[in-house]
């Protein structure tokens, strides 16, 4: 392992621990409690097991908690280091800034996949254990988990990039997560296509039998659009982070 890779791993493992153990874990726990509570309650009602389970997971994760929780974590990873000046350690080191940015992103993504995966698993089990577990339910779990991972990948890239340039990135995040993704993403017509949610749910509609989504784009097209936008966002984040001055 060369020096640059060692620096990448050192920063990523340090940040991974810090992200998991910071105060935002309270928000993640609160979301987990809400999800488990709602899913457990729903499981006691007269429901269509797979259909209603899919709708619940779709609404709670893809529509609401995924963008919000990812935003809460992603806007703080680099911005907090700029604010408390601890970014000096990274910027003054010989580690290339592009490597440093990718290291921040990797640790964030890994932590988010762990957190969102854990919440999804808890919600899924609290509904499907009382309702009855079978292979169809496990396929649904697998597909939802993959959709959540895709969401983590694109949302975290966006919010991390924004936090490099905007001081109060959380305000942009709140606007984007609640107004743009939740509201604009639900408006009928082509404007909804300007949200990540549209394409994540389009992929879900292609994979999951009971996912109801009338205006879905094809799975392949959705992957391609999300992939291209992701590459643009990551490239923009790398450029902005590299050329930014850090007067601290």
């Amino acid at each position: 392992m060369d020096g640059e890779m060692t620096a990448f791993v050192s920063l990523a493992s340090y940040k991974f621990k810090k992200i998991l153990l910071n105060k935002r874990v309270v928000a993640a726990l609160a979301v987990a409690v809400i999800v488990v509570g709602v899913m457990a309650y729903a499981s006691t009602q007269d429901v269509e097991r797979l259909q209603d389970g899919t709708i619940l997971l779709d609404v709670m994760f893809l529509t609401l908690f995924l963008p919000v929780l990812v935003m809460l974590y992603s806007t703080s990873v680099i911005r907090e280091e700029i604010e408390d000046k601890s970014i000096t350690l990274v910027i003054a080191s010989p580690m290339k800034r592009i490597t440093a940015y990718l290291s921040y992103y990797s640790s964030l993504l890994l932590a988010l996949m762990l957190i969102m995966g854990a919440i999804l698993t808890a919600g899924f089990l609290s509904f499907f254990i009382p309702q009855g577990m079978d292979m169809d339910a496990l396929y649904l779990y697998r597909d939802m988990l993959l959709l959540v991972v895709i969401g983590c990948v694109v949302y975290s890239a966006l919010f991390l990039m924004v936090s490099v340039i905007i001081k109060r990135a959380i305000y942009f995040g709140l606007f984007y997560a609640f107004i743009w993704e939740s509201f604009i993403g639900s408006v009928p017509g082509r404007i909804a296509e300007f949200s990540f949610r549209h394409y994540i749910r389009s992929i879900g509609a292609g994979w999951i039998e009971f996912m109801e989504f009338g205006n879905a784009a094809g799975v392949g097209r959705s992957f391609m659009i999300l992939g291209v936008v992701f590459i643009i966002i990551i490239a923009a984040g790398l450029l902005l982070f590299r050329h930014k001055e850090y007067p601290c």
Binding site: S10, K85, L89, V90, A92, P94, M95
Partner: protein, 308 residues
Amino acid sequence: MNLIRADKLSKWYGEVIGLNSFSVDIRPGITGIVGPNGAGKSTLFKMIIGMIRPSQGELLVMGQRPWLNSELSSKIGFCPDYDNLPDEATGREFLRLTGGLQGMRGRRLDGRVHEVSEIVGIDYALGRKIAGYSKGMRQRIKIAGAIIHDPDLLLLDEPLSGADPQARRALIDVIKGLHEEKGHHVIVSSHVLFEVERMTSDVILVFKGRAVASGHISQIRNLIDKHPHNIIIKGEGMVELGKRLLERDYTVSVGFDGGKDRLKVEVKKPDQFFDEVPEMVLKDGGKLEEMYSMDDNLQAVFKYLVGR
């Protein structure tokens, strides 16, 4: 070769000037950068380490431009004037992180953590959380982090700031040792001249973003001595003392300051003045109650040097 060459270096933050046509050559060894708060010392350091880039002018560090220069960064250690330590980490975790960012790992990193913590005298507290460190300990662990990769050049921005007198003495010894025993070139900033004087005789005076004087400490001292100092003396027999002072060639002016028991004296050689005054007072049977310089700080000298 000069360690650092700055040629008409300027840095603006919007309408605020950090450095203003700053030109200086810094030689190997220990160099002190002295100036009041906001003079531009930290701006210069951040430019040397590549955190910010010049708005104008040229900066060469060991012959290279520092902006986005990873190779050069690996030769420089930086200890900032602000607290950038992760409170939740232990001293050992912090040093392992700083070493890791320098590309060090395994036994080499463990050995170096042990070595630098001994050099700065923080080895006994490596297992403790940084949140529980005193100001002096925090400065030591910051310096340890800055030297973990054995840099050629070490930048210490106000390393004594906030430390108690005992910690200051110890830190001064550590800093001198880093050059004399370990061979690091050190650039250390302070707003207190006599502290820098205890570490080095090469000094650069910085004021309002400009290098207003540089050279051996004795030259700086001469500049200070040439600059008239305003001194207040309070006690009995001030009229007689005033007459005696007027006979001295270093006295510029003498006057009463709110009463006949209080003199305001303007002198050119304050050291000689302070040596002679007690004897003069005693000769006339007077009594000295209070004596202090109104501008016994660098601010007046800086203003003098820039002609304001």
